[in-house]
């Protein structure tokens, strides 16, 4: 599998995906 960080847009998309994942982590942390 190719490393998404080798591509600029793979990096940006990974950042957005990570934001969504962390959003739910924070929501759970905050008891939401």
């Amino acid at each position: 599998m190719k490393n998404p960080l080798d591509s600029l847009w793979g990096t940006v998309i990974s950042g957005f995906v990570l934001t969504v994942i962390l959003y739910y982590v924070v929501k759970a942390l905050a008891g939401g």
């Binding site: 960080l5 990096t11 940006v12 950042g15 934001t19 962390l22 924070v26 942390l29 905050a30 939401g32």
Partner: protein
């Protein structure tokens, strides 16, 4: 008054840090590849990259220090995700990881690439890959980092 000053410095230095990070990732990587093809890469590696790296790494440190000053007595609450501090805490952790990446991985490897620290060709090639991936990691982390910093006061979760 002081928290406002800290916030102002945090944003000023943060723009310089993340702006240069985006310059490296969105502009310089591709430009260097094209410049190597027509033998003009030295213009970037000798004259642009060292200056950009200087402001990049020091802006990163100033951003973190101003952010820590801004958190003030809430520093511990943010970093331990106390109630009400989950969002800024995550933003602060991501920013801290990014700072450590700059000073602990990117800069030591860039010193080898730029010839500031002696290195063999093999060590330079390895340093290029490590610095590139660390820089890309920071670009990726900057997206949620900025989201959660903004979210603390502007986005309900």
């Amino acid at each position: 008054m002081l928290p406002g000053i800290y916030r102002w410095i945090h944003i000023l230095a943060g723009i310089m840090w993340i702006g240069l990070l985006y310059y490296f990732n969105f502009v310089q990587v591709a430009a260097l590849k094209a410049a190597q093809a027509d033998s003009t890469a030295a213009g970037i590696t000798k004259h642009v990259a060292p200056r950009a790296l200087f402001y990049f790494r020091w802006a990163a440190l100033v951003t973190w220090i101003a952010g820590a000053a801004l958190l003030g007595a809430n520093f511990g609450a943010a970093f331990t995700f106390q109630a009400g501090y989950e969002k800024i805490g995550l933003g602060a952790w991501l920013g801290t990881i990014m700072l450590l990446n700059v000073w602990g991985i990117i800069w030591p490897n860039q010193k080898k690439i730029l010839g500031i620290k002696p290195a063999t060709d093999e060590e330079k090639n390895k340093a290029r890959r490590v610095a590139f991936l660390a820089s890309r990691t920071n670009t990726m982390l900057s997206i949620p980092m900025l989201f959660f910093m903004v979210a603390q006061t502007h986005i309900a979760i």
